[in-house]
């Protein structure tokens, strides 16, 4: 039977992710794109747990746990060590949450990106510290409830993609689990490129975002269709918008099912809609210019 994405599963059932966790779907797709010649480095994040407690692993590829701040540096070492042992082919992938990527591990990936280390860095962005029970991170959007922002986060989400681009890396992309073929294609593409590659994966989190777990894929899709999480890729500086709806859906449609946005008043919603629209216009202009 022919399927639009590979059938081989390198993530096994029996893992400990919450019901409806997007990052598990993301891992399945990522490994479908990358294949078995992959080694994963995981810093402190939900995947410290999801990958399995000793002596078990939910993954069929090798995995090395690393401290919170040091995933990218650890991955540099893995690649160098593999090369020293004569293995040039294996892809070394960092699989890190937003806390590790936006905050504590920023120095480490920035160094690796600037040096052009040969690795694929993936941030599955669930917009807060979820493994510790929903505390704000540099990836938490404006207005969002978390355990440490009970009256709403007061700052806009850090523009990580812009930071990444400033490092002149060989490949940068966003990916959404609602678009499996696009997702798998990007990982397969990243596998074939040398140097520092970065993919940011949008990762809805039912308990952290306070929505019913069956809405995970729906929210991932709405984030794309409202312009909250546009799908694009930048290869050697060339920008490509992967999906450009003729008209964006209203932001409110994406926010409504999520309890974490409950405190957002109409004025704040209008402001947020404004900034999403503005960013989308910038991307359209960039698309037109490229």
């Amino acid at each position: 039977m022919k399927t639009s994405i590979p059938q081989e599963e390198l993530l096994r059932s029996g893992h400990q992710a919450c019901q409806g966790c997007a990052s598990t779907v993301a891992m399945r797709y990522a490994l479908k794109g990358l294949g078995r010649r992959t080694i994963i480095v995981v810093p402190a994040c939900c995947w410290t747990v999801i990958s399995g407690a000793a002596p078990n692993s939910s993954l069929d590829v090798p995995l090395l746990h690393a401290p919170f701040a040091s995933a990218a540096a650890t991955a540099c070492g893995v690649k160098a060590g593999l090369q020293a042992r004569g293995d040039e082919e294996t892809t070394v992938m960092v699989w890190a949450g937003d806390g590790s990527t936006y905050d504590i591990g920023l120095q480490s990936w920035s160094g690796a990106a600037e040096r052009g280390e040969d690795m694929l860095y993936v941030c599955y962005d669930n917009e807060a510290y979820m493994n510790t029970g929903v505390q704000r991170s540099g990836a938490t959007p404006m207005g969002v409830w978390t355990m440490t922002t009970p009256d709403g986060n007061r700052r806009p989400k850090k523009d990580l993609d812009a930071l990444l681009e400033a490092h002149h890396i060989s490949y940068a992309a966003t990916a959404s689990i609602a678009y499996p073929e696009d997702f798998v294609r990007k990982f397969a593409k990243a596998r074939a490129i040398k140097g520092f590659r970065f993919i940011r994966v949008f990762s809805p989190c039912p308990p952290g975002w306070k929505y019913d777990p069956d809405k995970t894929v729906d929210l991932a899709r709405l984030a794309v269709l409202t312009g909250v999480f546009p799908l694009y890729e930048i290869e050697a500086g060339a920008f490509r918008l992967n999906l450009a709806p003729a008209k964006l859906k209203p932001l409110a449609e994406y926010l409504a099912p999520q309890g974490r946005y409950k405190g957002l008043d109409p004025e704040a919603l209008a402001r947020e809609q404004g900034s999403v629209t503005e960013r989308w216009q910038r991307l359209l202009a960039r698309k037109a210019a490229s």
Binding site: R12, G14, R28
Partner: protein, 92 residues
């Protein structure tokens, strides 16, 4: 007093690949998905989107692995033919 002697085995624990399948996560489930195969079009979206990797493809139509399904309902929500229903799990 129970003394702890140094263990003889390797000084670190190495986790075996793909070995979490001993953990039957079906016990997490409150709602149980049922596919009406007569309505199923074989689009395989339920297979693609399953967070548990527990939807199998024995043939052109999917089969949900009930040992691992946590009952999240993503498959039912995403099914374009609306042929998956989420029913209350029977009391054990």
């Amino acid at each position: 007093m129970p003394r702890l002697e140094p263990p003889q085995r390797l000084p670190r624990i190495i986790s075996s690949p793909g070995s979490t399948t001993f953990n039957r996560t079906s016990s997490w489930r409150n709602l149980v998905p049922r596919i009406d195969l007569a309505l199923c079009t074989g689009c395989l979206l339920c297979w693609k989107f399953c967070p548990e990797a527990c939807v199998g493809l024995p043939g052109p139509k999917p089969e949900i692995g009930m040992d691992y399904c946590k009952g999240c309902g993503v498959c039912a929500q995403e099914c374009p033919a609306e042929c998956i229903s989420m029913d209350q799990e029977a009391e054990a």
